[in-house]
């Protein structure tokens, strides 16, 4: 088994296995709310395949990243609920 990957989600350290997508890491950290909609409703992934854009999070300062399509990399800093 390869080494776990250490990332940060909303400032808290989270360890995941290689091959984990960012969306899964966010769920594993117990965050149900990925983003806030125009009317400030909580939203999370819908399509799981990069089409609906509901799972957008900020990764290393880049906003609007599709968390369902991006694999976790060591040291990633992820922010949700923006």
């Amino acid at each position: 088994m390869s080494e776990p990957i250490l990332i940060q989600i909303n400032g808290r350290p989270v360890s995941v296995v290689p091959g984990t997508i960012v969306a899964a890491a966010v769920a594993k950290a117990g965050e149900a709310k990925f983003r806030r909609s125009v009317l400030a409703q909580p939203r999370g992934p819908l399509c799981g395949m990069g089409i609906c854009m509901e799972c957008r999070v900020t990764i290393n300062g880049a906003r609007h990243c599709r968390s369902c399509q991006i694999l976790c990399e060591p040291g990633m800093e992820i922010c949700t609920d923006e």
Binding site: I21, V38, C47
Partner: protein, 420 residues
């Protein structure tokens, strides 16, 4: 920002079954081929996870064949536009790139159809295929209660897949009547491989109900329960996830941006899988929802045709005709019931990107007017979710697309403009 230009004799967009088989076929005829995919993995949605954890021999055979074919794989590469004939504009983590082609094969696949109902925007309400994809890449599901509803053979496949990862499947609710699905089952006698797949899922029949659809989902910050109906009575089931999808709709945005004509919502192709645009081919779900086997056959035909090997393409016509009969049976069995058009109230959101309600959208005469005056369909998904729903609920046509076909960084568009 780095900027790069790639040139290929054959460019294939999409690395699902259709794209992989098309790329292999063309490369094995000696062509210089690239397959371009948005994701970091190969296999599309249907074979997602097969690279990391092989479980299907068909997927393994094709992934092996691809790895020995000499095809260049451009993964994590999102095609955002087709600025000129023979050219695609794409984005990679390192920046924008231009991909030049002599022949282009579009294998853009399909997405799930989502229909609005009260509560459908709550976190935890996901597509069945979507949840399966998330779980394959580490989404925690063990011990969680999942209600699966909507329509299509995917519901059972997802139930089986999620159970392997430890999910508690509460129920599987198919909107189509039992009689129509049974008829479809009988038609599978002509496709023994599909029949065997179907029989492998029989262990779930106790949890499956036909002629049932969702009325509403409830919860505070995430879904907690769903109300269902069979048209006579309604009841509530508790869940941690509601996996709800109404079969598939084709991804035709890129074909449309290139100018390909559609027919009944699908990309129109001739017997060589050529679209209405010369040198542009299309294979798999964008030409009709027929599943992976159909896509593999169409992909090979497109690949051979693009390489000019018409005899090799022709040898697959009978196989394709057989899969097209399966495709027709699938469409008939899982046709959507009209009651599904009335699930959303006037205050239910139709457009999830811009938070526009169905009641607001109904005030307009058509899709274009609704977009201009309400911003419906103008958010980051560019109408991929609400457009398909509005087409079913309101009967609106929306067969036009504007570049970029997916949200792109301003830098990519500037690079492209500077090259002109």
């Amino acid at each position: 920002m780095s900027e790069s230009i790639f040139e290929f004799e054959v460019a294939v967009v999409g690395a699902g079954p259709a794209g992989i088989s098309a790329a292999c076929a063309a490369a094995e005829c000696g062509r210089q081929v690239a397959v371009i995919d948005d994701t970091p993995w190969l296999g599309g949605q249907i074979w997602r996870g097969e690279q990391a954890r092989p479980s299907q021999s068909q997927a393994q055979q094709w992934l092996d064949r691809l790895s020995h074919s000499g095809v260049t794989v451009l993964d994590r590469t999102t095609v955002v536009g087709a600025p000129a004939k023979g050219s695609l504009l794409a984005e990679h983590a390192n920046g924008p790139c231009e991909i030049r082609w002599k022949k282009l094969i579009l294998a853009t696949g399909a997405r799930e159809l989502f229909l609005p109902f009260p509560g459908w925007t709550l976190p935890g309400v996901v597509g069945p295929g979507g949840l399966q994809s998330l779980v394959k890449n580490g989404w925690p599901i063990a011990g969680r209660r999942v209600v699966i509803c909507g329509t299509g053979p995917l519901l059972l496949a997802v139930a089986k897949g999620l159970q392997k990862y430890g999910a508690k499947i509460v129920s599987i609710l198919e909107q189509a009547p039992r009689s129509r699905v049974a008829e479809f089952g009988i038609s599978l006698l002509r496709h023994p491989a599909k029949l065997i797949q179907g029989l492998g899922m029989m262990s779930f029949t106790a949890k499956m109900k036909f002629g049932v659809w969702p009325l509403k989902a409830e919860g505070d910050d995430a879904v907690r329960r769903v109300t269902l109906t069979d048209g006579h009575k309604s009841w509530t089931e508790d869940c941690d996830f509601l996996a709800c999808g109404f079969h598939l709709v084709p991804n035709v945005e890129l074909p449309l941006a290139i100018g390909c004509q559609l027919e009944n919502g699908f990309v129109r192709v001739d017997r060589w899988q050529t679209t209405s645009i010369a040198d542009v081919f299309c294979a798999g779900e964008p030409t009709g929802i027929g599943g992976a086997d159909c896509a593999l056959t169409e992909g090979q035909i497109a690949g051979y045709a693009a390489a000019g090997q018409t005899a090799r393409a022709e040898a697959l016509f009978a196989q394709r005709a057989s899969w097209h009969s399966f495709r027709a049976a699938l469409a008939k069995a899982y046709a959507l019931r009209p009651e599904l058009k009335t699930l959303a109230n006037d205050d239910t959101l139709l457009c999830r990107c811009e938070d526009v309600s169905l009641g607001r959208v109904r005030q307009f005469s058509g899709w274009r007017e609704a977009k201009l005056l309400s911003r419906c369909g103008m958010g980051p998904c560019q109408g991929r979710v609400c457009g398909a729903a509005a087409k079913f609920i309101l009967g609106w046509g929306m067969e036009s697309v504007r570049p970029p076909v997916l949200p792109a960084r301003v830098g990519s568009l500037i690079t492209n403009a500077n090259q002109k």
